[in-house]
């Protein structure tokens, strides 16, 4: 440990106002990207199953025509 | 290579070759531009106006003005070129000429280059010729006038070439103007840095030839790459 006490560590020997915001913003960006991509995936899969159920209810009208197919 | 061969084959078959395609497009574009005289003058008036605003906003003190003159003239010229870019392909896109142009047997890059040259002849070149007049008003030392004109001549050609890529990418978009500046301005930074920096050095009486050569190298690089990139961008703008 490069600090004498935990209080010193939190205070970063006077540089707390610079070190902590930098860490929070940069690491926060990483966490935000991770969270958003996981939530997005859940939402998309739910959307897909909702689409499927809607189609199952109305077998005559398929939603496939409106959604483009990609190779 | 194969495009070049195709063009020579065209000549053999009695169709226009590379050079004919280039010169015909250049001639047509220049004629169109000279037909609209008022539009031709717009970038120049804009250039002069921006330069006029700075002494009003800062101070009429000639030592201060002489100090900032290289950067100021360069930024104003750059913005004038930027404003004129949207018209580079817009009219031809709207009336369908562009589609015909890309159907021509000549490679798109050559014809796009002709349009860019026409654009430079009607914006960059007059801006460079006008610049000493405004430089005098900003109290730029007389011995650096030649260098100022030279950097603007070479630099504005580079600006036209790089700007053509942005104009081609945004020509199919309804409100492409603001987006165009967002795309192009960061790419303009090196030209501005070298252009204004060289004039500054010239004011201080330093040797500027090596840096001028670097500006020439930037022009050569953009001459090689930009017409083809702009041609590819035009194709996708027409598809979309």
């Amino acid at each position: 440990m490069a600090f004498d006490s935990l209080t010193d560590f939190w205070a970063m020997n006077g540089y707390a106002a610079y070190v902590w915001p930098a860490f929070i913003v940069v690491l926060g960006a990483l966490v935000a990207f991770a969270l958003v991509s996981v939530i997005e995936q859940r939402r998309l899969l739910r959307h897909v199953s909702a689409l499927e159920r809607r189609e199952a209810r109305r077998p005559g009208r398929s939603a496939t025509a409106t959604v483009e197919e990609t190779s | 290579m194969s495009a070049e061969r195709a063009a020579t084959d065209n000549t053999a078959a009695g169709l226009p070759g590379l050079w004919q395609g280039f010169s015909a497009t250049l001639y047509r574009d220049c004629r169109l531009r000279f037909r609209r005289r008022s539009e031709l003058a717009n970038p120049l008036i804009f250039f002069a106006l921006v330069v006029t605003l700075f002494p009003l906003g800062l101070s009429p003190d000639s030592t201060l003005l002489a100090e900032i003159a290289p950067g100021l003239l360069w930024v104003a010229a750059l913005l004038a070129v930027l404003l004129s870019l949207d018209g580079l392909f817009r009219d031809d896109f709207d009336d369908g000429t562009l589609e015909q142009l890309l159907l021509a047997p000549q490679p798109a890059g050559v014809l796009v280059l002709a349009k860019i040259v026409a654009h430079w002849l009607t914006t960059g070149l007059p801006l460079a010729l006008l610049s000493p007049l405004l430089a005098v008003m900003l109290a730029l030392p007389g011995h650096s006038m030649g260098v100022l004109m030279l950097t603007l001549l070479v630099g504005s050609a580079t600006l036209s070439l790089i700007g053509a890529i942005g104009a081609a990418l945004t020509v199919g978009l309804r409100r492409g103007g603001v987006l165009l500046s967002l795309l192009i301005l960061p790419l303009y930074a090196p030209v501005l840095i070298f252009g204004a920096g060289i004039v500054r050095l010239a004011v201080e009486g330093a040797v500027v030839t090596p840096w001028l050569a670097l500006m020439g190298a930037m022009l050569a690089l953009s001459l090689l790459a930009a017409p083809w990139a702009a041609g590819a961008a035009l194709k996708l703008s027409l598809d979309g």
Partner: protein, 249 residues
Amino acid sequence: MWPIIHKLGSPKWFYTMSGRWLPFLWGIGAILITIGSLWGLAFAPADYQQGDSFRILYVHVPAAILAQSCFAMMALCSVIFLVWRIKLADMAAGAAAPFGAAMTFSALFSGAIWGVPTWGTWWVWDARLTSMLLLLFIYLGIMALRGAFASRDGGARAAAILTLVGVINLPIIKYSVVWWNTLHQGATFSLTEKPAMPASMWLPLLLMVIGFYLIFAAVTVARTRNEIIRRQPSARWVRALAQGERNGL
């Protein structure tokens, strides 16, 4: 050659394969960054000149490295997309762009904060900061251009062309900004210029950089997977996937 490229370019194949790696990318990345942060924040010795403010280096440098690597990766994807028309490459480039912009902004933000104790000011027109700022604008331009097109393919091709133009320009921008900086003789000492860092200082940095790369890979893969679902929600395998997910939950 061709079968491999087409297999790699198949969204279904990519989706199933990447599903296996993804947890490891997230997990190892998170572990490395946690260890690196704790090590860098608490155990690495303080710098003899800058004191504890130098610890910003442990997030500033990885963010700056990632900002540039991300652009290189996007350029590679753009070439693959433009030459072989592999849509997966475009999805990956599109997925990476916001992350690259975020890393560029992070590097600028942490650099500005670091500037206060080091230079006594938030912003210095230093060569690195300035070229980073221009890089951020290029990222924003690419993202805006992709969004401005009504057709997905048009936006993809436009973004790819602009990325390639940008990648040719970036070294020129960097060089010109350095030249400009020496011309004006601004701040000449740089933030990261260290004469021989001891291992206790650079090891945590190494962990952080590797961790950032892994998280970058994970974010790009995860966002590409989302894009695959978004583009073909009616493909049979996507349906089966959604069903499996629902039963699993």
